[in-house]
Symmetry: C2
Subunit: 328 residues, 2 copies
């Protein structure tokens, strides 16, 4: 019997979930839920119905795991605790600073109702977090570095679009090669924000806009750009659509640490991702963890979990025997 | 209260365990066991006694986890099931093909006696295995590549030393840059053994030895060298000791895979290690997992485990709250 996946929210992430479910033979897409009029939403998977979010409870028995594809700012803080009362759920809540309070709210709901709720899944938080944990446990005398990119930051792109005279924009976060080299060289450098990442912006300005003023506004924008070296390119709408329509991302988690009686040996653990599509990769992680959540639910587990709490074997469709024989 | 670690076997790995225990504030070294006359073995940690292996059972109550530092060929197949009858144990059994039978033997003993036994821990098997599992679960439509090196292969060095006229030797396994580049480029190449790794040998020959004959013998040695491009350098004993006394190693686990409704996006997951000391890094992994084994034992778990079966949080000295607040 397949694991029946429900998708809550059909944006980039929801579509990514649909594609990932198709790649996993032990899963099937059961239903898609949307806030839009369901008739206006068409999905790729044949035979799958789209329902309004308000009807989700009436489809409870058709869904093994509900994957929540809303945003971290307003959707998930409300949705995850609410749906964990009725479903095993997975979310990708990524506001790092608010994870503890999100965990507490979801844990109360999931424990109370006897469901498994996995929060903050994806690649950061998610796979990057796992690698920080593993590397830190192995090399306690060491230092962690996380670099993001090269990739599109939706938040920074949006911030540029809000500037007067800007028609559209795309912002890339780029790790600085010299910082990566220093870390990989085992130097354990102290790096400022500016030393770690560059920001490169491709901006389409209105015909009559003052581009010098826009560039200045971008470069001095607090929180988003002021602490970075920022490069601004003005391009045409045609160029933006042609060259910058993808949503690539990625990054590096590196730990450099010492071992030996007097710390005489240095080691470098590096995990890196190079992703053509940030939402599709994130979705692929969520779907693998949906398998784990389903299995934990079958075992009678309940409460809120993170990637830290889930034994790796739960993610794989292979049996313990197969894993030991082929992957160990 | 500290986790009390016992070390069985005091070679390179055992000494690495001792150093790693020193780095972990929640652990202490309880005792070292050796097959040699205990008086001839001196350890680095003040106040720790060395006992003969035959006396290990009389120190049962002083040890929370016994880390087995013997070899995979003859020691561990016998030792791990035997000691799992009396201790929570961790081993680094690394004969990949024989893991299923080792698991079965250890599982029977550990289940029967109510102990937790973790086998095949280290970096390969171990951290590399974990990364193969995670990456494969996330990108089911993809391909795995494992490269080893640059690093010293003890087995290949030993094979050269057995050749007539060879006084000493060190062999480095080196991943080929062009193969790594093809994999990182998302080409999913089919690579032969020869295309993946080079073998570089540093050999000290006896004064009257026929070096051309030795070189020929190395390069044509079945299993060890015949399937590889091998480079042989003859050097002096002084040079060998000066330039090749370390035991560095490392490698890469790379998965390249596709997502999207028609597989239109490519992703690359790469995990790499660059290790100054292979035994000390392996020891550091074993010690982190000893913490997990101790905790599982405290929870009443029993049986044989691998790294696949252990939730990451068990490895860290941090609490769930701390992990979520700082590493997620």
């Amino acid at each position: 019997m397949s694991i029946r996946i429900g998708i809550m929210g059909y944006g980039n992430l929801g579509r990514g979930i649909e594609c990932a479910v198709k790649q996993n033979a032990d899963m099937e897409l059961a239903a898609v839920f949307t806030r839009r009029p369901p008739k206006t939403v068409s999905v790729l998977t044949e035979g799958v119905s789209v329902y309004h979010v308000d009807d989700v409870l009436s489809h409870k028995d058709e869904i093994d795991v509900l994957i929540l594809c809303g945003g971290s700012a307003t959707d998930l803080p409300r949705q995850t605790p609410a749906y964990a009362r009725h479903f095993h759920v997975v979310d990708s809540f990524d506001t790092h600073a608010r994870i503890p309070e999100h965990f507490a709210a979801v844990n109360a709901a999931a424990t109370d109702s006897g469901h498994v709720a996995l929060i903050s899944c994806g690649w950061d938080p998610g796979m990057f977090s796992l690698n920080r944990l593993y590397a830190g446990a192995i090399l306690p005398d060491g230092k962690d570095y996380t670099f993001w990119g090269k990739g599109v930051s939706q938040g920074h792109s949006d911030a540029i679009r809000r500037i007067d005279g800007v028609l559209d924009a795309k912002q890339y976060t780029i790790p600085r090669e010299e910082a990566l080299a220093a870390v990989r060289g085992g130097e354990n450098p102290d790096l400022t924000t500016r030393q770690k990442h560059l920001r490169e912006c491709f901006v389409v300005a209105a015909e009559d806009a003052d581009t010098a003023k826009i560039e200045q506004e971008i470069k001095t924008m607090p929180n988003y750009f002021a602490d970075y070296d920022t490069v601004v390119h003005f391009i045409t709408m045609e160029e933006l659509k042609r060259d910058h329509s993808g949503i690539p991302h990625g990054g590096f988690v590196i730990r450099s640490g010492k071992t030996g009686w007097n710390g005489e040996h240095t080691h470098l653990i590096e995990y890196s991702l190079k992703l053509d599509s940030n939402p599709e990769f994130t979705s692929s992680v969520l779907v693998a963890y949906a398998r784990a959540v389903y299995r934990l639910g079958q075992e009678g587990a309940a409460g809120c979990k993170t990637v830290f709490d889930i034994a790796p074997a739960y993610l794989s469709p292979l049996s313990g025997d197969e894993l030991r024989a082929h992957l160990l």
